[in-house]
C-alpha cells in the first residue's frame, strides 16, 4: 500500500516537472507566438454561468470613456496592457460591447487602435475560441487513460509492488468476485484517492464538460482502476472516496486555478500565473499547453472574477487527551495554524450553479496529529424558500469533505449535506446566521478499538447520518460570536462487526476585530465519541476538550 501511494506521488511530481519546464519555454514566447503550443481551431468563448458572470458593462464603458478622454492625439501611442486591463475587460462579449460603444460614438472601427494596442487587438479579439468552449470527448478519454496508465506503469515496471501485475485472469476474477473493503492506511484512503479522483474529473471538466457531465468521469475512472488497474479485488471504499471526494476536490481546483491564471498578462507575471494554475490543476495546465492558451494573451473568462476571501489564523491550543482536567498530566500545549477559504459572494451566489459557493478550512498543529482538521462544503443546488434580501431563508444541498483527528477519535469521509439557512438582520450590517443541516455520510472511516486488518488497517468503514447546528453573529466579514455542534453516526460495514460509533463536536468561538484585516479570537471546543461493540467487547467512550487562542487575518 505504501508503494501505491508513492506511485501516485511520483506520477504527480513527474507531471508537474514536465509541465513546468514546457510552460517556461511556452510562456516565454507569449509576446511572439500567436499559435501557441499547437495550432488549434478557433472556438467561441465559453462563459461558465456563475457568480462571476455578473454584468460589468457599465463599469467598463465608464472606464473606456475615461481612457478616451485621457488619450490625446499626441499620445496616440498604443495603450499598454496595464491600461487596458484597467478597463475591466474580461471576455470577448464585453469587448464586443465596448466596440459597439465606440462605434456609437461615431468613431470608425479602425480607430479602435487609438485606444487598444495592435498587440492587444490582434490577440484579444472577439473571435477567440476557448479550448473549453467545445466538448472534447476523445481528448478527455485519452487523458483519463494516461492518468490511469502512468501510476500503473510506474508500479509495474519500476517499483514492482505486486498489485500492478494485472491481466485477463485478475480482471475476470475481479468481475466475478466484486467489491471488498481494502486495508490502506487512514491517510491514503482520505487523501491520495481523492487527489486521483480530482484528476479523473478534470480530464472532462477541462475539456468542455460542465460539472454534472464531468462527475461520471470521476466514477468511471475510479471504477476502471479498481477492476482493471489492480490485482486485488475492487475496493468499494476506494471507489467512493476517489469518486465523490475526487469530484469535490476537482471542481474546487478547477475554479481556484481559473482565479489564479490571468490570460491578459505577459512575461514573468504570466509564467508564475500559469505555474500556480498548473500546480493547482495539472490536467487544466496540460490542456492549456496543448491548446496554446498558456502562451496567448486573451480575455479571462468570468470565473476569473469571482470574489474570494482567505483568512489565515495562528495561535496555540491546550488539548486534554483524556478526561476533562485542563491542569492534569494528559494536557498538551500545541502551536496551531489554519486557513479558511470562502469562494463566491455569500449573499448573491447562483443557487443553480454547482460550486458557485464553496468553503474549505483546515488546521495543522505541531502536536501528535499534524493535520487536525480539514473540511469543505461545496454547493450542488439551492432553493430560495422565502424572505427578502435582509431576512431570507434558503435550502442548499452540498457535498462535503470531512477529516478530523483528535484524541477522542479520527473521522474522515465524504457526505451529502442538506442545510436550511436563516438570515436575520440585527443591525445595518450585522446579522444572525443560523444553519440546520442533515448529513448523509457516504463512506465514513473512524477509530475502533477492536479491529486490526491484515494490512494494518485499524479503523472501521461505514455510512451513516449526521446533524449540523450552527449559529453566528456576523457582518459577513467577521464572525463575532459563533456556536456549532455536529454529530455523526457511523454504522460499521467493514471492521468491528455490528458496531456503531457516535462522534460529536461542539464549539463556541469569539472573534474581536482589531481593524479591517486583523482580529483576535478565543475558541472552546469538545470532541467526544461513544462506540458500541458486539459482545463481549466492552463499549468505549472518549472525550477531549480543547481551548484555543489565536490571531486571525483576512487576506
Amino acid at each position: 500500500m505504501i508503494y501505491k501511494s508513492s506511485a501516485l506521488q511520483i506520477t504527480t511530481l513527474l507531471i508537474v516537472v514536465v509541465m513546468f519546464t514546457t510552460m517556461l519555454s511556452s510562456a516565454a514566447e507569449c509576446g511572439n507566438s500567436h499559435e501557441g503550443f499547437f495550432k488549434i481551431p478557433k472556438l467561441v468563448l465559453k462563459e461558465d454561468k456563475g457568480i462571476g458572470s455578473r454584468d460589468y458593462s457599465i463599469d467598463i464603458r465608464s472606464n473606456v470613456q475615461t481612457l478616451k478622454f485621457n488619450t490625446s492625439t499626441d499620445s496616440y501611442s498604443k495603450r499598454s496592457l496595464t491600461d487596458l486591463n484597467k478597463t475591466g475587460l474580461r471576455n470577448s462579449n464585453q469587448l464586443s460591447e465596448v466596440n459597439e460603444f465606440l462605434k456609437s460614438d461615431n468613431i470608425s472601427e479602425n480607430s479602435r487602435a487609438r485606444y487598444f494596442s495592435d498587440k492587444y487587438l490582434k490577440d484579444v479579439n472577439s473571435d477567440f475560441k476557448y479550448w473549453e468552449s467545445e466538448k472534447r470527448f476523445g481528448t478527455a478519454v485519452w487523458e483519463l487513460a494516461i492518468i490511469e496508465f502512468i501510476p500503473w506503469a510506474l508500479s509495474k515496471y519500476i517499483m514492482k509492488p505486486g498489485w500492478a501485475n494485472v491481466g485477463f485472469q485478475s480482471w475476470w476474477s475481479n468481475i466475478q468476485n466484486g467489491w471488498e473493503y481494502d486495508g490502506d492506511n487512514f491517510l491514503t484512503n482520505n487523501f491520495a484517492h481523492p487527489y486521483h479522483g480530482n484528476l479523473y474529473f478534470n480530464s472532462a471538466r477541462t475539456n468542455g464538460y460542465n460539472f454534472w457531465e464531468s462527475v461520471p468521469f470521476a466514477f468511471g475512472g475510479s471504477l476502471l482502476w479498481e477492476y482493471f488497474g489492480e490485482y486485488y479485488r475492487p475496493s468499494f471504499n476506494d471507489w467512493i472516496n476517489t469518486s465523490v471526494s475526487g469530484f469535490n476536490l476537482g471542481e474546487m481546483t478547477y475554479r481556484v486555478a481559473n482565479l489564479v491564471t490571468d490570460n491578459t498578462t505577459r512575461g514573468s507575471q504570466r509564467v508564475w500565473s500559469e505555474i500556480w494554475g498548473a500546480l493547482l490543476n495539472p490536467v487544466r495546465g496540460f490542456n492549456r499547453l496543448i491548446s496554446g492558451e498558456a502562451s496567448k494573451v486573451h480575455p479571462n473568462i468570468a470565473l476569473y472574477d469571482v470574489p474570494v476571501r482567505l483568512y489565515v489564523d495562528g495561535g496555540m491550543r491546550r488539548v486534554v487527551k483524556s478526561g476533562s482536567d485542563f491542569a492534569g498530566d494528559s494536557v498538551s500545549t500545541e502551536g496551531m495554524v489554519g486557513f479558511n477559504l470562502i469562494y463566491g459572494n455569500e449573499n448573491s451566489f447562483d443557487l443553480d450553479q454547482p460550486f458557485s459557493r464553496f468553503r474549505v478550512w483546515g488546521h495543522i498543529s505541531n502536536g501528535s496529529s499534524k493535520l487536525t482538521e480539514l473540511f469543505s462544503y461545496g454547493l450542488l443546488k439551492g432553493w430560495k424558500l422565502g424572505g427578502k434580501e435582509k431576512n431570507k431563508q434558503v435550502f442548499t444541498l452540498n457535498i462535503t469533505y470531512n477529516f478530523m483527528t483528535n484524541p477522542a477519535f479520527e473521522f474522515g469521509g465524504p457526505a451529502l449535506l442538506g442545510v436550511f439557512t436563516l438570515k436575520n438582520m440585527l443591525g445595518e450590517k450585522t446579522f444572525l446566521k443560523s444553519d440546520l443541516g442533515l448529513y448523509a455520510v457516504l463512506m465514513g472511516s473512524t477509530s475502533t478499538e477492536y479491529f486490526y486488518g491484515e494490512d494494518g488497517r485499524d479503523y472501521d468503514f461505514g455510512p451513516g447520518p449526521g446533524i449540523l447546528l450552527s449559529t453566528s453573529i456576523t457582518d459577513g466579514t467577521w464572525n463575532y460570536v459563533s456556536a456549532m455542534y455536529q454529530g455523526f453516526t457511523i454504522l460499521t460495514m467493514s471492521g468491528s462487526p455490528d458496531s456503531k460509533h457516535y462522534l460529536h463536536n461542539a464549539l463556541a468561538s469569539f472573534t474581536l476585530p482589531i481593524n479591517n484585516y486583523f482580529g483576535i479570537g478565543l475558541e472552546a471546543s469538545v470532541f467526544w465519541r461513544n462506540s458500541f461493540y458486539k459482545d463481549p467487547d466492552p463499549d468505549v467512550s472518549r472525550t477531549s476538550p480543547m481551548g484555543r487562542l489565536f490571531f486571525i487575518t483576512k487576506l
Binding site: 468481475i175 466475478q176 468476485n177 466484486g178 467489491w179 471488498e180 473493503y181 461520471p216 466514477f219 471504477l223 468499494f236 467493514s494
Partner: protein
C-alpha cells in the same frame, strides 16, 4: 424459462404488428417522423422489462440464475441524457433446488447516455441504488428470515428500436454487482428485453 421468453416475444411481436398495421392512420411510422431531433428532446417515458441474470463467482456456487420483471419511469431531457427510476421483483433459485431461493426488490436510479440515430437508439446505461433481499436461507445454508438491504449497481449497453413515434423495443446487456456477503458478492451478467413508451 423458454416459455417466458416465448410469451414475451409473442407480446412484443403482436404489439409491433399492431402498431405497424395502424401506421396509415397515425402517420408516424416513417424514419423522419419518428426522429425527435431538432425539436424538443424532452419526453417522459415508461418501460416494462423482463430480465435474466446469470450470476458469477462464489454467489453462483450457491444460487442459480435470477429472473426479474421491472418497470422504469424516467425522462429524456436533452440530446443525449436520460434519467430514470427502476423497480420490480426478482426471484433467484437455489442452485440445487433443495431449499427456497431468495427474492429481491431492486430500487435503482440511474441514467442513460444515448445516441439518437432515428429508429435505432443505442446507449450506455448506469444505475445504482439498493436491493431489498428477502431470504429464508443464507449463503451458508443456515435457516434464517432475513431482509437485507444492499447497495447495487449496473453498467450496461443497449439499444431502443423505435416501432413508432411512441413505442420502442429495448434490449440491454449489463454487468450487475450488489453487496451480499463480503466473500460472495452478488455479481452477474444481466440480459434484458422490454418495451418502452415515450410520452410525446
Amino acid at each position: 424459462m423458454k416459455n417466458t421468453i416465448l410469451i414475451i416475444s409473442l407480446i412484443l411481436f403482436s404489439v409491433s404488428g399492431q402498431t405497424f398495421a395502424e401506421s396509415p392512420k397515425i402517420g408516424t411510422l416513417s424514419f423522419k417522423d419518428s426522429k425527435p431531433a431538432g425539436k424538443d428532446w424532452s419526453s417522459l417515458f415508461l418501460e416494462v422489462e423482463y430480465s435474466y441474470t446469470r450470476h458469477l463467482g462464489e454467489y453462483e456456487k450457491v444460487w442459480g440464475s435470477s429472473q426479474s420483471g421491472t418497470i422504469a419511469f424516467g425522462k429524456k431531457y436533452s440530446k443525449h441524457y436520460m434519467l430514470y427510476f427502476k423497480t420490480g421483483y426478482s426471484q433467484t433459485a437455489e442452485w440445487e433446488n433443495t431449499r427456497d431461493g431468495n427474492s429481491m426488490i431492486p430500487l435503482l436510479v440511474g441514467g442513460k447516455y444515448y445516441f439518437d440515430l432515428g429508429t435505432f437508439m443505442p446507449y450506455f446505461a448506469f444505475t445504482n441504488g439498493f436491493n431489498v433481499i428477502s431470504q429464508k436461507y443464507d449463503n451458508f445454508g443456515n435457516q434464517t428470515d432475513d431482509i437485507l438491504v444492499k447497495y447495487a449497481w449496473q453498467l450496461g449497453v443497449g439499444a431502443y428500436v423505435h416501432l413508432s413515434r411512441n413505442f420502442a423495443v429495448n434490449t440491454t446487456v449489463s454487468y450487475n454487482s450488489s453487496f451480499y456477503y463480503i466473500d460472495a458478492q452478488m455479481t452477474g451478467f444481466n440480459y434484458a428485453g422490454g418495451i418502452a413508451y415515450f410520452f410525446r
